[in-house]
Symmetry: C2
């Protein structure tokens, strides 16, 4: 197979290579890949959560430093992260691959391997998909469907004044990892930020626990960065966010930003690709959150501020104001 390209294979051959990699079918999959469409039994007494997100070569990844399995991993992870942000458990996904003929067949296999490995770990069944050739960049488009109890859906619109504001994990690693890869595209360093950038772990369990226990009042994932997420949730909820505590910037990322002459908090706020969750919790549910944190064992959950009346986002941290975006106001010595 050395040197073989996608363009040398028929669509049927490529589909067979995908099918050979898929795991066992759950019993709700009534008809899997191979016909005009897949047929599934819908979930009972649950709502379905549907999301679609795409990775485009040259926009969302650079093949010089993102290995094939990481392309596949990220293509599914960005969708699963959206499900997590809704409090949903993943169930199935479809793949649409738009392939330049010069893509090595080994890379094609690697992309599928990356998708399938994450799908198996997160119990997501690949029910079907589509292949197309293209004169342009590689495009990996995924639609994912999850399930959630209707009353336990997490939206962006439920934050209320007085709620506490939290973020999971650490921020800034996505951006720092990308910058580190770009600084040495042919041999990116193996650091915590590059590992996170290449293979982010969507916060599936946290999202489900926050919804199931009706812990969070609003939730969103950080695909486009914390600053963007704060702005979106504030707008959707009709509230103002007051961010007045230290942000949990990933330590290696913080060092990297400092070495580049960037303010770590500012860089981490503006950086995307973190796939952590931003969420708000009514003060009276703090105890429930504590139980969730205990059950998750090890995932840091950091309070970063409070929900207030008004609109926009006010950020005061590190005794320094950061102004991001039109909706933001600022305090402090800047």
């Amino acid at each position: 197979m050395t040197g073989a390209l996608v363009g040398d294979s028929s669509e049927r051959t490529l589909i067979a290579r995908i099918r050979a990699r898929l795991g066992a079918s759950p019993d709700w999959l009534q008809l899997g890949p191979g016909d005009d469409a897949a047929v599934v039994a819908p979930p009972r007494n649950l709502s379905e959560v549907i999301t679609t997100d795409v990775l485009v070569e040259g926009v969302h990844f650079d093949r010089r430093f993102v290995p094939p399995d990481a392309i596949g991993h990220r293509a599914l992870a960005v969708n699963l992260s959206d499900l997590a942000a809704m409090g949903a458990a993943p169930r199935l996904a479809t793949l649409s691959l738009v392939l330049p003929p010069a893509l090595p067949l080994a890379d094609f296999d690697g992309i599928i391997d990356g998708i399938v490995a994450l799908a198996e770990r997160e119990q997501t069944t690949i029910v079907g998909g589509n292949l197309s050739r293209s004169p342009g960049p590689l495009v990996v488009d995924v639609t994912a469907i999850g399930t959630v109890h209707r009353r336990k859906v997490l939206t962006r619109g439920g934050a209320r004044p007085g709620d506490l504001v939290f973020v999971s994990g650490a921020i800034g690693a996505g951006r720092a990892g990308l910058e580190q890869c770009r600084s040495a595209p042919d041999a990116p360093p193996d650091t915590a930020p590059t590992r996170w950038y290449l293979r982010p772990q969507p916060r599936m369990r946290l999202g489900r626990e926050l919804g199931r226990g009706q812990v969070a009042s609003a939730c969103m994932d950080l695909s486009d960065g914390l600053a963007d997420a704060l702005e979106q949730v504030a707008e959707a909820s009709g509230v103002r966010f007051e961010i007045d505590r230290l942000l949990p910037v990933e330590p290696d990322a913080a060092r990297w930003f400092q070495a580049q002459g960037q303010n770590p908090s500012t860089a981490a706020l503006a950086g995307g690709d973190d796939y952590e969750l931003l969420f708000t919790v009514p003060a009276r549910r703090r105890g429930r959150l504590r139980n969730v944190v205990r059950r998750l064992g090890g995932l840091p959950i950091t309070r970063i501020g409070t929900v207030a009346r008004g609109s926009g986002v006010t950020i005061v941290h590190d005794l320094e104001a950061v102004v991001v975006g039109a909706g933001f106001s600022h305090f402090g010595p800047d």
Copy 2:
């Protein structure tokens, strides 16, 4: 807006332009576009049919002669046609648009208009989607979900020896229309084939009737041409197709093929983009098919052959054998 490009607009502005075009939400749509994902109540007592299909500029359409609304129409139509081939009624769809920044904003609007017009006509709710920029060609990727009674799913695998083979409508128009457009890309003629090529009408009602009444034993749409569909259904069903009757080649398309020195039947067999349905009917259910034909009023349904034991596809028509693909054998004076 004259001269404005997609690249001049923010993602939020583009999403707002899409949302302004969407119709009313059905009550099963619990959360529509605007959050991390859409939330829907699943259908009751029905299976879900899931399909995904993509249009890539330069592969599936040429912007010189496919107007924006036709790009949108076709992107949804190819997916709805897959649902029709399963006997399913459409319910919802997601859109993923990968956009070159130089795409005129008016063309973006036109693409959405084309999708929305067909979606409304076929009662398909657009529940969400995703926008991405791209350095490459325009990509319109759609995932569509329909519903069907589990026992009334039409697959490719149910054809049995003795069944009768039918095709809906007329074939060859998709290919002839494309050839006519290519022959005059700056001013394609307004003919029946070009109209069909640009805005094919998926056979939603026929598919549903064939499934609902348990009329057809197997079904597939002609997205890649009749020859391909015959081969696929024969293989999936473990039977041989004997095609021994005149094929219903669209008359304008037949004249076009003749004028180009091509055999009309051969060209129509090999041509794609017809989106008609190929289906098989057990002989004892001929009466049911007659009732369906009567109810559909006007859509030609043509018997083109019989299902036999064996494998592959045997084609004898026009007193002339046509050999297409590896699985085919041939008879007659050729």
